[in-house]
Amino acid sequence: MSSHNLTRAALRSEGLPRRRAKNRAMEALAWLAAAVAMGLLVLVVWSVARRGWSELNLDLITKTPASGFLATGKQGLANAFAGTLVIVAVATLMALPTGILVAVYLNEFAPAAVRGAVSVALDVLNGVPAIVIGIFVYGLFVLGHGQSALAGSFALAVIMLPLVARSTMEVLALVPSSLREASLALGIPRWRTTLSVVLPQTVGGIVTGTTLAVARAAGETAPLLFTSSIVGTQLHWNPHHALQSVPVAIFELSESPDPQDHARAWAAALILLLFSLFASLGGRWLATRSRRRIATSR
């Protein structure tokens, strides 16, 4: 129906019962779509929780998987949790300062043309599939040198960088220019204005962006498959060696024929899921809060 016909029909109240029925049907479909989306979320969370809950115990994070076929006794995934901690922490150390600097450059220094080009590059980087980044880091670091947790961290940092940079840019843009001008007018050099007047205003936004990026990175499997997956069962902390990680452990256990492995996969999945959900919801809550605070301080 073109908008012209629509207007005519509306003005003359033509076929009103039929149009009302159609409206009601469409509204019902939209309600249904929302119910389906909510249902899917509940279904996934509930089935992971139901299967993972019974296996959730302290052994999971304190004991390592036993090696060999005749292994008995309680087994855990301590090596995977330690590895994820190391890999994600190092990735954050790489991505956080770089991302903030990129945002500072784009918002405070860059000419408009450069800003546009770099923003496009960041968006493109954000759209590169995680598995492709894994293959890239494999070619960059792993070929010839072997796998390492550092290579895995670099791969995760590539994924985190655009997220941190974009969220920092968003809050930098909210900092009122009167604040910069006031500082500059006091004779404070531009670099000090940026570092000690502008950036402190954006801490909330940076924390938010980092939280969301960490939540995303901690759950990524694909970048680690080719960079930090060939591991033993011992507990290690050294990032120069390949370290097991929670997502890769879930991935491997999920394809194992042993039902005991599935049980541990569900328990690890429950922990990972809860972490991702809380970090993501928490990040969003922080985002609205910090945005509101900057907006009211204006």
Binding site: L6, F109, R115, S254, L277
Partner: protein, 332 residues
């Protein structure tokens, strides 16, 4: 990227009519280097993939994309991407077709229908759906979704619509292209829904109320005012969703089952570009096989670049006309 233009030009040029300070130069230099490095990463990724795929590119050339083969046995080595391209196209396009109406429905619910008290929580929950790690969705796909589809959905679809080649006999394992499609639908639904919601929120209130004041029903207002207004943005959101579906490796490789053949039966196993790469992470035997896997990744990269740039182009074109800002939330 939104309101970066509020800094006046005068404060943007630090050195205009002033002596150059070392600190200013240093900060600008370091920050500029970081920005250059981030931009250079895209080029470095492309270069490394071309370099890694080079043995396969020189051996198979462009015929790689039209050949159905994956034989790593030394002496009989033959590699081709055609079956994976086919699998990628089938899974992601059908997933997009399923996710698009759902996502638009969710966005309409969140902007027009939901009681005020429900809007914020349901919006947060929809975005939470995007935060579920793909390996968790994959695990759920293997042991919960797969069996449900195999035992209940696939047999009934097969018996009712079996004359259509798409709905052939179900595979016994529960791994199937159809399972992968459902998993991908779940993964792209929140992305498309949250972008579409923002677009709908941007529709001017006067236009919506104007239509309603003329006596249109709510649905007629949606069709006559909101859809035309948000059309370009929704197209961009769908392109981004497609890019996400094409690039998803882990969850798909967990549920799709594998195999190097082209067939139309959705209930049989298959492979996509991304799932093939993920499935081979420990097994690549020869240099040529590794190079061919990198070739697959290169095809994925080219596709993701095209998808992303075209989405940005659509947004920019539409945005200039209507002042829409398109903010990609969550996982991209």
């Amino acid at each position: 990227m939104s309101a970066a233009g509020i800094t006046p030009d005068a404060t943007r040029r630090p050195f205009a009519g002033r002596r150059v300070r070392f600190g200013d130069l240093a900060l600008q230099g370091v920050a500029g280097a970081a920005a250059a490095a981030a931009t250079g990463l895209v080029g470095l990724i492309a270069w490394k993939l071309i370099e890694g795929a080079w043995p396969s590119i020189t051996k198979f050339g462009v015929h790689f994309v039209t050949r159905v083969a994956w034989n790593p046995v030394i002496g009989k080595e033959a590699f081709g991407a055609a079956s994976f391209l086919f699998g990628t196209a089938v899974t992601s396009l059908i997933a997009l077709a399923l996710a698009a109406p759902l996502a638009i429905g969710v966005a309409l619910f969140l902007t027009e229908l939901a009681p005020r008290a429900l809007r914020a929580p349901v919006t947060a929950l929809v975005e939470t759906l995007a935060a579920i790690p793909s390996v968790v969705i994959g695990l759920w796909g293997i042991y919960v979704l797969g069996p449900i589809l195999r035992d209940h959905v696939e047999p009934s679809l097969h018996s009712a619509l079996g004359f259509i080649p798409l709905f052939g006999p179900p595979s016994s394992s529960g791994s199937s292209i159809f399972t992968a499609i459902v998993v991908l639908t779940i993964m792209i639904l929140p992305i498309v829904a949250s972008i579409t919601r923002e677009l709908f929120l941007g529709v001017p209130r006067e236009q919506k109320e104007g239509a309603l004041a003329l006596g249109t029903t709510r649905w007629e207002m949606v069709r006559g005012v909101m859809f035309p207004y948000a059309r370009g943005g929704i197209a961009a959101a769908l392109i981004l969703g497609l890019g996400r579906a094409v690039g998803e490796a882990i969850a798909v490789t967990q549920v799709i089952g594998g195999g190097v053949f082209i067939h139309w039966n959705l209930f049989d196993t298959g492979d996509t570009l991304a799932s093939k790469i993920a499935a081979s992470y420990q097994g690549a035997a020869t240099n040529l096989e590794v190079a061919s896997l990198v070739y697959l990744a290169l095809i994925l990269l080219v596709f993701s670049l095209l998808a992303n740039l075209s989405a940005q182009w659509v947004v920019r074109r539409v945005g200039r006309r209507q002042g829409i800002g398109l903010n990609r939330g969550g996982a991209g």
